[in-house]
Symmetry: C2
Subunit: 191 residues, 2 copies
């Protein structure tokens, strides 16, 4: 029951942080939206910052789930698995009204003023890149990428370009920037 | 004199908004940093939102100055002019401690809750893309790009990928993501 309350706060907070950002979202507004009393919030979270950081952990659980599902799909060639992960992410964005990526949003808003959020978001991107780089290594083994490809750099580059496209999608409420970016990247990297 | 005051507020506000974002910056803090009285602020700006939007206009004056300087340099081939603009932007970021791009920062933070900022930031990116696309058209004429290149899309793509790299630079306080992105883009687009 206590765990249900915590999950509800994290889920609702994830949606509200994506739309509003960190500073615009008050704890009172979150409590009103979830009908959860204040004492319960502070039972589960030390502070608003602690809450925000745990929302990112919850978000990353979903990201890792998506990576497990796509990158582990041995029926597809490695590059297609990577592309599939980003296409699935685009589908998620569509369901949310094309608001972009929570990591990019909180990273932009908070990394100039909070070392805790700066390090957390950077760590998340590094983790995603590490998993994608492993799949790119497999693409080299299968001859999909040339053997001298720096897979670490190419994985980071893919995530960074995606984040820029996600920002533009948020501004336009349109998926076109995401698709253009994926088309360009995979056209340019294939051996 | 009145104009000096306004310019000082815009300049100081630009630096503070880049680091802190919009919600974290209070008007009182800006006035303290500039030793300007409150009445003077509200003489020049209707509201904090009006101030933020005018800071973006001020920022765009600099961007257009940089575009004039780089894209108008007829001693360089068109693609090198475009690259030079982004390299100059990187130099600007270095001077600021690699905090990334104000447009990306405000766009992420505010576009979920403010139509005024969402439209303003999107318009800024479109303007930059329009100017870069003209230079890419010239690159086609000179045979630097293949004739079937969609220069509008390629200009938008460049800006979007740059913005993602700028976010990562802000997270890492390091210019490497910017350089990797430019190397990849120009290696992939050249005819």
């Amino acid at each position: 029951m206590a765990n249900d309350t915590k999950q509800l706060l994290l889920e609702q907070g994830m949606a509200m942080l994506l739309r509003q950002g960190y500073h615009d979202l008050g704890v009172a507004q979150l409590l009103e939206a979830t009908s959860i009393p204040k004492g319960s919030f502070y039972h589960h979270f030390k502070s608003k910052e602690d809450f925000g950081l745990q929302v990112i952990d919850r978000y990353m659980e979903e990201v890792h789930g998506g990576l497990d599902h796509c990158l582990g799909d041995q029926t597809l060639p490695p590059l297609q698995r990577v592309r599939r992960f980003f296409e699935m992410t685009e589908e998620k964005y569509r369901g949310e009204g094309y608001l972009g990526c929570l990591l990019g949003g909180l990273g932009q808003e908070l990394s100039g003023i909070s070392e805790a959020f700066r390090k957390k978001v950077e760590w998340c991107f590094s983790e995603i890149a590490r998993r994608i780089a492993c799949c790119l290594d497999e693409a080299i083994e299968r001859g999909e990428l040339s053997a001298n490809t720096d897979t670490h750099t190419m994985a980071q580059l893919l995530i960074n370009c995606w984040e820029g496209a996600a920002l533009r999608t948020r501004l336009q409420r349109d998926p076109a920037p995401l698709r253009q970016m994926l088309d360009f990247y995979f056209r340019s990297t294939s051996a």
